[in-house]
């Protein structure tokens, strides 16, 4: 495939525009919804329509990348180092597809959960701005725009926080951590520009291979620290409405991890080897600590957020492996975990709503009360734990195989332990909320008096989208062949020197 990839800007322009469509649609939707923010009755329909259009655009993008390779568009025909290039390779397209599907599921759910006042203040426009930022990060070909879209995403997320109200002392404090993070990211970008003379990903990858290793490690440290500080912003996500937590798991977390993978992929092979041990340690800590901490939580959502941390650790571990299988497994793991945990958090929000409490010790008896929610919980728990028919299993299989081939047993062991712990945590949630009759303690055999049933309208708006999302996840899992070929392409493209980077570089052919 790499031989048949000449300089891609010369390709038909229609192809190139595909990389911009999802971003443009999201921005358009945000603008339109802002204009119509008083007409709350129109919001949901308009938002669903735009969301469906973005999902379709991303789906077409994935199919296109699968068939023809990365899609590149240089605006105005200006090429790097001066022009700014949009491009989508398999990694970006897959994560974009998953993120937009997650948003599509959150949109109707939010309708039943977010106060009408917040809706009038612009809840939906901000969700679309968030998605636009995510799409921008996923489709950018240079570091400057990556930074800009990352900031757009973060500012939109903070805007959502503002619109929802109920801000405590921690709100500004954690936002300050985000500001510090963006200053560090900016410094890292400036330093890489000073080292290589360009901001385009292609030129950077080339420049880094000639730069002093110490300087590159310093820049990588700045990027890592900056991104880590930015993630701090979202620690309180699980105390917010479930729709926001689902947005965190479905959009913000995957896109942040994607940015880390993308930056890591810029490094030449020898410097990846230098940085891999650090990344491995980070990944191992996340993989083990996340599920272990989740095990002792009494709050479902907090447990799920910690499981996302563990799954993110597995993705970073695959990236640290650096082989085609490791990288490819990491990419499909990242794409599926966004969708799965978004759906899980939405269902967790439903369980909390039906029980009228957030304390898992007070829950129980869901199996008798609502069979549909119960079955959905079971299916999603299997998907979250990565049991065989679901895409998480195939991703873990690739990751484990990649690790064993590289003989990185120190990475494979915590990965498998993490998967097992995740299964235990999720099974525990199932047992406590669905399987047992009543609350913890002496009355656990008696029916749970707190349970309320969902109204018909609520069921349609909440369970419907989760059902569709779960169906898509299951469908992907039942036909793993395209998934494997997508993983192969993504992993191949992220190897040093990356194919996508060759495409964007004017000098190489």
């Amino acid at each position: 495939m790499i031989e048949t990839a000449p300089f891609a800007v010369a390709r038909a322009p229609v192809d190139g525009w595909l990389a911009v469509w999802p971003l443009a649609t999201a921005l358009l939707a945000a603008g339109l919804l802002t204009v119509l923010r008083e007409r709350t009755r129109l919001h949901l329909g308009l938002a669903m329509l735009s969301g469906a259009a973005i999902v379709t655009a991303n789906g077409v993008l994935v199919l296109n990348v699968l068939a023809q390779g990365p899609v590149v568009m240089a605006s105005g025909g200006w090429l790097p180092p001066l022009g700014s290039v949009m491009f989508a390779d398999m990694t970006g397209a897959l994560v974009a597809c998953s993120a937009s599907l997650a948003v599509l599921a959150v949109l109707p759910f939010a309708r039943t959960e977010i106060a009408p006042e917040a809706m009038r203040k612009g809840f939906y426009p901000l969700v679309f701005l968030l998605l636009a930022g995510a799409q921008g990060v996923l489709a950018t070909g240079d570091l400057l725009t990556l930074y800009v879209w990352l900031e757009v995403m973060v500012i939109a997320a903070l805007g959502l926080r503002l619109v929802l109200g109920g801000i405590t002392r921690n709100g500004p404090g954690l936002a300050v951590a985000g500001v510090l993070g963006s200053a560090l990211l900016l410094l890292g970008i400036g330093a890489s520009q000073a080292m290589t003379g360009t901001l385009g990903l292609a030129g950077l990858a080339e420049g880094f291979s000639r730069a002093t290793p110490g300087a590159v490690v310093a820049v990588a440290g700045l990027f890592g620290l900056g991104l880590a500080l930015k993630t701090l912003l979202f620690i309180p996500a699980f105390t917010l409405p479930a729709a926001i937590a689902a947005l965190w798991a479905g959009v913000l977390a995957p896109v942040g991890i994607y940015a880390a993978i993308r930056l890591f992929a810029l490094l030449p092979a020898d410097q990846r080897v230098t940085l891999a041990p650090g990344l491995t340690v980070l990944a191992t800590v996340a993989m083990v600590a996340g599920p272990l901490l989740a095990l002792v939580q009494t709050d479902i959502r907090r447990a799920l957020v910690l499981l996302v941390v563990g799954a993110g650790g597995a993705v970073l571990g695959g990236t640290a492996l650096g082989s085609v299988r490791g990288m490819g497994g990491a990419v499909i793991h990242l794409a599926q975990l966004g969708m799965v945990f978004c759906a899980l958090l939405l269902v967790a929000g439903l369980i909390e709503r039906m029980n009228g409490t957030r304390d898992m010790r007070q829950m129980g008896g869901l199996y008798g009360a609502d069979i549909y929610v119960s079955v959905m919980v079971l299916v999603l728990l299997a998907a979250g734990a990565g049991l065989p028919p679901f895409p998480g299993f195939w991703a873990l299989l690739l990751l484990a195989e990649g690790g064993l081939r590289e003989e990185a047993f120190g990475l494979v062991a915590p990965m498998l332990a993490s998967a097992l712990l995740t299964l235990v945590v999720l099974a525990r949630i199932w047992a406590r909320t669905v399987w047992r009759n009543g609350p913890e303690g002496a009355r656990s055999e008696q029916p749970n008096g707190r349970l309320t049933r969902l109204s018909r309208a609520e069921t349609g708006l909440t369970l419907g989208p989760v059902l569709v999302l779960t169906g898509i996840i299951a469908l992907i899992g039942f036909f793993p062949d395209p998934l494997f070929s997508a993983a192969g392409i993504a992993g191949f493209d992220l190897r040093p020197p990356a194919l996508a980077i060759d495409l964007v570089s004017p000098g190489s052919s």
């Binding site: 500012i155 503002l162 002392r169 709100g171 500004p172 300050v176 410094l187 400036g190 520009q193």
Partner: protein, 125 residues
Amino acid sequence: MDSMLAVAAGVSFAVAVYLLLSPSLTRVLCGAACLGNAAGLALFALARPVPPGDGARLADPLAVTLIFVAIPLAIAMLGVLAALARRAQEAGEDGCDDDGGQARQRSGAGTTGQRHRGTGRAGTP
């Protein structure tokens, strides 16, 4: 000139971090504003002059672009931060009023300072 820029950036960073660590939200906001400027100065100091070695030194256009893009983003972030801080103060959970004196001296910030002081005093006697 380069060393001057580097020193200015360093001083701004120091001031910014000092202000960011303050418990008062108003000072934290000033620190965030300062941090954006410090990052811009540092970027300018980092940039290589083009053409390199020439007598007439021009600023690197890419670096300047980077700074110009960073400035509006920093302002946007500052706006959101200010809104968050305001909400936090309105919620009465701020609990610190050690900036009251400075805020009142400026005429523009007078009303906010008064308001802040009012809620703050209630929390911390």
